[in-house]
Symmetry: C2
Subunit: 213 residues, 2 copies
Amino acid sequence: MGRKAGSHSEITGPKVREAALRLIARHGFAAVSMRQIAAEVGIQAGALYNYTPDKQSLLFDLMRSHMEELLESRVTSAGGGSALERLEEFTRFHIRFHLPRGQQVFVSYMELRNLEPENFQEVERLRRLYEDELEGILRQGVEEGAFAVADTKITTLALIAMLTGISNWYREGGRLSVGRIEELYWAMVRNMVAVLPIEGAELPTSVLAARAS
Amino acid sequence: MGRKAGSHSEITGPKVREAALRLIARHGFAAVSMRQIAAEVGIQAGALYNYTPDKQSLLFDLMRSHMEELLESRVTSAGGGSALERLEEFTRFHIRFHLPRGQQVFVSYMELRNLEPENFQEVERLRRLYEDELEGILRQGVEEGAFAVADTKITTLALIAMLTGISNWYREGGRLSVGRIEELYWAMVRNMVAVLPIEGAELPTSVLAARAS
DNA sequence: GTCTATATGAGGATAGAC
DNA sequence: GTCTATCCTCATATAGAC
């Protein structure tokens, strides 16, 4: 291809992204300099600008591609079935997808503040698409009378926070396997939405009717 | 008192802390400069060093005092009773304490990376004291046969993540009052640890014995 | 206690040679 | 595509006048 000596764009590009992700996850976006990223890759700072127009774009690319990968994986995994089945599948998917991506999860969560408004809006839009599927499952469960969920929006946020929180302590090779973590969290999720006589819970009329009969 | 003109230490000190908290919560520790903090207070950057030896100490003070206030409030609130009663009290306390302190929660969570090792250890120690109380409640509940919790450590982390996550979306004057949020989350917490016939859950022998009788 | 001024260094980003 | 060199701005922190 007539590539010049010292030309490695196909290798260097991914290395820049990996180095940036690793350093930003560890020290935070604002605390990481372009010189640090370049040093981690093994090039000079100026050469980074062959791969990103600026530092902000580097962050945005990391976060957007993480969300897009999540949504793409989701499309191929999501299926039909009862609300309970769909909720179990969603729970297990969320854990299996996120646990091997601790750095991406961390960055996507912590660096939202450092996105310029336009970029922030886009990442938020993608995140909402993901959460909306979960809320849809909860709504279905309420309709079916399978779930006692007083507020599907709040329960969605509670579940996401609980599940994503795993990434804060999970370490590969730790006490619990991914499979075991799936079991433990699925049991908790299942309990949380279970139909039970909770005082004050606003049960849907379909459930009240079913109980009366 | 013979105070010189322009001398306002009793006023300026708290203002420095408040300005730092507000700016760090919004932009992140590394992204905020001492000049910005000074400008927010209405003094010059050099004058900040009458109130903190350096930027790191300012962050550490904010995080440590937040944790110490949490633990002090906890001592006066915590009581005895059944595990279910204690869990309800803990849940409501956690929400009532944290919701009016969104900035502190955010900073204490996001800026752990920016603490120097010694300071990090201290903040972690205080955080663990708080979590240990929750785990103790869960252990008591398992002993009493009131809770079906397969792994008290994991359930502790799941509950903390779920409850602290409220601070990510709560806004004063929003759709839900603090009281309503307490109700919704207590219902979820209660369900989550409830004794139910969950396949695969490792029930304590006390519960299995109770069921057999 | 606060100011102005400054020491000292690092930051993002660009230009031009190879 | 990468390098070296550099522009320009901003950072933390300190010194000394008032």
